[in-house]
Amino acid sequence: MGDFVQLTIAGVSIGAIYAMTAIGFVLLWQTSNTINFAQGEFVVLPAFAMVLFFVILRFPFVAAVLATVIVSTLLLGIGVKELLVTRLLKMGVLPLVIATIGLSLLIRYSLQQFWTPLALPFPAIFSREPIRLGTVIVSLEEIGNILFAAVVIGALQLFITRTKLGRAMQAVAQNRALASVLGINVGRLVTITFMLNAALTALAAILIAPVYLVKYDIGVSLGLKAFYAAIIGGFNQIRGALLGGLLVGVVETLSAAYISSHFRDAFALVILIAVLLLKPEGIWGVKEEWA
């Protein structure tokens, strides 16, 4: 029993990381029909930025976080939107998908070539001292990840539902043409969404760096899990991304322990396919219109 609790906590902790990555992904799809295949790399780049600011330049932690978020927002938020998305959106879903695939390869291999192909160490943000609760051993790192993700997601949810900007985003997500008629500057809103996504992935990077270690290819599996999470939970609801992330994390961990480690990557996939066939809008999702 103790093992089960141990595994579930680990699953929830890693699931929180998936959720944080998945949320921005969902936001982008909602407001701009962008399937961002480079979402994983949107986390890796800020992770490297954190190494630069926190480890190499030795900024104090908060300053490093701020610097990372700013860099991420500028490059991956405004930069990507203005240079790539604005033009490609008009051409339909596929060109943008291809371009984001190209972007993910570009970021990945540039980091490998110009920085390092090796994994860089990153200091733990939360303490790793083991805390014993019966047979279960946790550390502040697991708890910290979960709490941090909860706070960020909660804040985001408030933003979306309570602020004017947030509600404008919702309007655009539901019906872009109508939102435009109502006077919402859709283009500007999309830019803000991209910036928000970049900020979210930067925050996710802070959680991920100590656990995954900072290497150019950690975005690959992370991005994939984020997709699963977004689709399983509900591609058009933030809480869907949260549910999806947690579900993927927990299922992965438990099934690797109790069923088979050889097929570790398959279990979340099976759930994904089942969801896609039975309820494609996701468990907490809402049916999409024929946009």
């Binding site: 093992d3 595994l7 291999y109 090796l118 994994a119 083991p130 790192e141 599996s221």
Partner: protein, 390 residues
């Protein structure tokens, strides 16, 4: 008399020329490097390439081999087997004497038949048993294959450490599977089996399933056989869960590329390694120093393999006495090479009939983020003889 003068002056001119000009232009032997410079194996390929270049530089400074200078070039396989085949074919077009690479076993298995067809000896950094199982007399490893390595490992684990219950955590790819199969095989020979046998994935981030299973099994030792980053993550999480099991490994657990990201969590691990920068072998220490001077980083086992590979070729060519591919290949089978005849080999080595090595190795313990050699393990077989090759 008049007709003799032009001949005399010509002779005089020739004599002057011979005295003044440098020694007759030296021939050049081509030794291309085919390695993983981009893709998943970038760090590995880079180490191999840098060390081969260092070795060639060292050799050329001392005058080359049998009057020939060595020349390398670098070709990237992208860590992709079909690409490595294309690259190998391209490289063979230039009729090199020998090829250095690839390091990744899945690429080597794909491209080694081509080198064999061309009769160009191939020195590889691969370690997987699938390479020697194919009966290719054209391939030469620069380390032991997993059967020798694991044989030594198991012997040390059971005889020295008196390990009772051993858990096995291994990465599910060609590398990990080869090691897993050999480890289990040699344990079985001694009437034992792992109490836990659980596989992991490349790029895996969370190891709680593995760690809980290891803990539940009551294992005294855990054999950690993943790639370097995964080992680092595994060890960090092992310490977080305050497991009391003793971590042991073969090469990868105690490699520098595990120690750097893993930090203090890896301290206390003990490994059997074939090659390490911390080896108390003067020749290795010296190579380590020169590598760091030139490249500003510590060589890992892939670097040592590359360096030694070039010198294996040199030793064989010297022993044969000529640049003859067939004779050199024959010389590199069932033969002992010592550092007395060729210091660049760094350690005595024996090449067996399949082209893989037997060589002394080391037991290291990780202390304060560094691999410290605590014991030297002799060759597995022997005594071996030096066989002449002329």
């Amino acid at each position: 008399m008049r007709s003799a003068r032009p001949k005399l002056s010509l002779l005089a001119a020739l004599l002057v020329l011979a005295a003044v000009s440098p020694a007759s232009p030296q021939g050049v032997t081509k030794l291309p490097i085919v390695a993983e410079i981009t893709g998943g194996g970038a760090s590995v390929g880079a180490m191999w390439r840098d060390a081969v270049n260092l070795a060639v530089e060292d050799i050329n400074k001392k005058g080359g081999v049998l009057g020939m200078k060595l020349e390398t070039s670098v070709q990237d396989t992208q860590t992709d087997p079909p690409t490595s085949v294309a690259v190998m074919r391209r490289v063979l077009n230039d009729k090199p004497f020998a090829v250095f690479g690839t390091v990744y076993s899945s690429s080597t298995v794909a491209n080694m038949d081509i080198a064999k067809q061309a009769g160009v000896p191939q020195f590889t950094g691969s370690e997987s048993i699938i390479i020697t199982q194919k009966g290719n007399d054209n391939i030469f490893l620069t380390s032991f294959t997993q059967d020798t390595g694991m044989a030594k490992m198991v012997r040390w684990l059971l005889d020295d450490l008196k390990a009772e219950k051993i858990a096995l955590v291994w990465v599910n790819n060609a590398f990990g599977k080869g090691g897993h199969d050999m480890f289990v095989h040699f344990l079985k020979e001694r009437g034992k089996a792992p109490v836990v046998d659980i596989s992991t994935e490349v790029q895996q981030a969370d190891f709680t399933p593995e760690l809980t299973k290891v803990r539940a099994s009551g294992a005294t030792h855990v054999m950690v056989y993943n790639h370097e980053e995964e080992n680092a993550r595994f060890m960090i999480q092992l310490r977080k869960m305050a497991l009391t099991v003793s971590p042991v490994g073969e090469t990868t657990l105690c490699a520098q590329t595990t120690l750097t990201p893993g930090g203090a969590a890896v301290d206390g691990s003990r490994c059997h390694v074939g090659l390490t920068a911390g080896a108390p072998v003067p020749l290795m220490v010296d190579m380590n120093r020169r590598f760091q001077e030139k490249y500003n980083r510590v060589p890992d086992h892939n670097a040592f393999k590359g360096y030694i590979g070039v010198h294996m070729l040199k030793a064989a060519v010297q022993r044969v006495g000529s640049w003859d591919q067939a004779k050199v290949k024959a010389c590199l089978h069932n033969n002992l090479f010592t550092t007395n005849e060729e210091a660049g080999l760094l350690m005595d080595l024996y090449v067996n009939e399949k082209g893989s090595l037997d060589r002394p190795s080391f037991i290291v313990e990780v202390k304060d983020g560094k691999s410290v050699v605590v014991k030297t393990v002799g060759m597995l077989g022997g005594p071996y003889n030096v066989r002449p090759c002329k």
